[in-house]
Amino acid sequence: MRKLWFSLLLLCGSALASGSYILAQSDVGSPAPFAPLRQAGPHFAVTSFVYDTLLWRDATRAIPWLAQSWSWNEARTALTVRLRPRVTWHDGQAFDSGDVKYTFELLRSKPELSNQGELVSTYLDRVETPNPTTAVFVLKRPVLDFLERVLGWEKIVPEHIWSKVTDQLNYQGADRFVGTGPFKVKEYRPGEYYLFEANNAYFAGKPRVDQLILRQVSNPVLALRQGEVDAAPLSPTQAKEFEGRAGFALTGPNPSYFYSTVLFNTNRAPTNSREFRQAIAYGINRARIIEQGLQGDGIPASTGTIHPESPWFGNQMPEYAYNPETALAMLQKLGFRRQGEALLDAQGRQAELPIVCRGQENVRICQLVQQDINRLGFKTEIRVLETGPNQQVLDRGDFVINVNGHGGTFNFFPNPDFPGRYYKNPRYDELYKRWNETTSAAERLRAALELQRLLAVDLPKLTLHHPIDRGVFREKEGIRLFWTKGGLAGRGGPPSYYNKLAFIEGGLASR
């Protein structure tokens, strides 16, 4: 009986097997190009199969895509982009520089359509189109990474469709899915799957499969095991069972762009003291948190807060290797003293250090942090709050220690204790401004290294770890998934194993 059911299941799977490939992917709403609240994550990967950007990324770097080549003027205020000729939209119309001009001028006038739209409106003055295959971006002032951060991020949309639409954000017409990408949207079934059909006229090569299905599954390990999907990102522990299994291949592990952090409230005692924060950093066993909180599926994050794949990453930051004796010695210098197992403050009272924990998903990590702080002799208690209430606590400054986490770890934030906003340091502001505005690559790198050192020494937040994951995929139809270092778009874009280059044959994909 069991064999019979298995055979039936396999038959169900094989009905789709020829010319199709199924990726495990959560539902991120309709694959329309304008979605400011969804865009900053998997939505980008999903829509990248349908729309193209001027630049794309292979495994390690930015590559020309709809743009064939580009050049800057000497003052770096005008970027001339030569577009790839003979590219067509999914509805058969020709793509040209008018579409590029339309897309960027739309974003300049309505930056709320994209979560990076602010960059376009801040930096872009106008787009000129001397001929159908040339677009000139005239900037208000020189910007060092306009190319990757803006041209690598914004998807080009067809002028002949969108120029007739007034409310682009909420437009529901069927032609909103017309792109130039390797796949056309055939069907979107909310909560279940996206069905994409090959665009055999794709300029960069023929898609490897006729159908690409992105399917929502709640348990990707079981779904892979039972042939319900062909690929999924898994934690290394989960991925182990597929190592060496016939028909499967693995890529990675790679560190996620998320990290967990311990945020200190620098506006109230005792965490307003840098030495106190450093003492706590010595007292937290980050390796144990990775081992016990993530079952080993993580790497320590840099105390300079920047991700190791980022071009700004500095690898010489203070590590605060776990050493409770050092922590206690530093605390004693600050007036604390041990009495038995307890730690007393300068007034002889039991020292307390309450912990606010963002979200149930962080509770295990919070408990491990709590255990380490307890070992130093503090009295602690954990309060768990979901994202909204926790942000309120951060905004009001109603916390001492906040165990948090977020992505976007390739770049610096204007508020260094992000998502808090209490830490103030004029030196940070000055360096951040320099890093953000300089047009000299060398100066920018210097500013980045100084910023990291400042954060690592001053410690408004102690970064704990990045989780790691692996791409597990079925070897068929010539598809081999790979990790895109730096994310799919620009530097620090959405991290993903689902790079469209893996799904197209030869041509530009083999670069």
Partner: protein, 322 residues
């Protein structure tokens, strides 16, 4: 106005008042909870620290820059026009966003509810008619135990046993392109089974209780003393007398089952309203949460109203306000 008509109009007024109260609470409770639809951007994979201008522009775009009262009047106006608004996260009308998920939840409830009801009431009847027999006590014990299990635990046990250890049913609840009703039913089998097992004990217990209380009445003794055949005693006297409380409790259980079914959907990853609700809540998508809440509440109120009307029809004493 005749008394039954007065009772009916007062009942309808009660429901209307309840619906208005729910509409108001629905708006204010959500907005007063700390959080914002923009929070998701700050905690995404490429977290964005929004500038004040960006925040303001996005809030204006979504009509969230107005005062709470101003937003409430807009909301009330939309509700009066029957317009649930546009989802902030999905950028599409709420009705359009909710419908595919609601449809799947209703299918699950419908497929699970009827067998649970029929089986539960049937077993309750058999049990009441064989009160205190040894096997009846075992049946009672088993179903009390089943009824005490939370729905998510039943779902997890079924998933482990019938989809993992012994993979008779597919582990994935979502469909693939080209699959039809047969595949939907196959993928629904475990969630439906979990639903049936979860509700079965409850239906059994209240049906058994209702039948036992009627069986102890004088009119049942009288009917039997008259020498009426057992079939007529059961169908004409027992069932008829037990029907009003059964219908009222059935409507209550059906309403409450929307809560339990969310857990079942979550365990199986079934793409029903639970999936959508979790996204809507996590993203502070106010119109979408309001829409889901209103549709769920509307369904619950409708079932309760129907039950009240049916009970009024079955038992004239309730229509007369006694």
């Amino acid at each position: 106005m005749p008394r039954p008509a007065r009772t009916l109009s007062s009942l309808l007024l009660q429901y209307l008042g309840l619906a208005l109260l729910a509409l108001t609470l629905n708006f204010f409770l959500l907005r007063l909870a700390p959080g914002s639809p923009l929070l998701g951007l700050e905690h995404s994979e490429i977290a964005t620290a929004l500038s004040e201008e960006q925040k303001q522009r996005l809030l204006t775009q979504y009509g969230l820059d107005q005062s709470l009262l101003g937003q409430f009047w807009q909301y009330a106006g939309r509700m009066l026009r029957g317009d649930l608004g546009t989802s902030l996260y999905y950028n599409q009308p709420v009705t359009q966003a909710v419908w595919p998920y609601l449809e799947r939840t209703l299918l699950l409830v419908l497929l699970g509810f009827l067998p649970a009801l029929l089986l539960g009431v049937g077993l309750g009847l058999v049990s009441a008619l064989n009160y205190k027999q040894a096997w009846e006590r075992w049946l009672l014990g088993g179903l009390v135990l089943l009824q005490a299990l939370p729905p998510f635990l039943i779902a997890i046990l079924l998933l482990i046993l019938l989809a993992v250890v012994w993979p008779v049913f597919p582990v994935v609840s979502t469909m693939l392109p080209g699959q039809g009703l047969g595949d939907r039913l196959e993928r629904l089998a475990l969630p439906v089974l979990a639903y049936v097992l979860w509700e079965l004990g409850l239906f059994y217990l209240f049906a058994r209780g209702a039948f036992l209380s009627v069986l102890g009445n004088d009119h049942m003794t009288y009917a039997r003393a008259k020498g009426l055949p057992e079939r007529i005693v059961i169908f004409r006297h027992l069932l008829r007398a037990a029907l009003p409380p059964l219908v009222a409790r059935t409507a209550l259980i059906l309403s409450a089952s929307f809560g339990g079914v969310f857990f079942i959907e979550a365990v199986f990853g079934y793409p029903g309203l639970s999936t959508l609700s979790l996204t809507a809540i996590a993203r502070f998508d106010y119109p979408l949460i309001e829409g889901i809440f209103l549709l769920t509440l509307g369904t619950i109120l409708l079932f309760n109203l129907l039950a009240d009307l049916v009970v009024m029809g079955l038992d004239p004493r309730t229509a007369e306000g006694r």
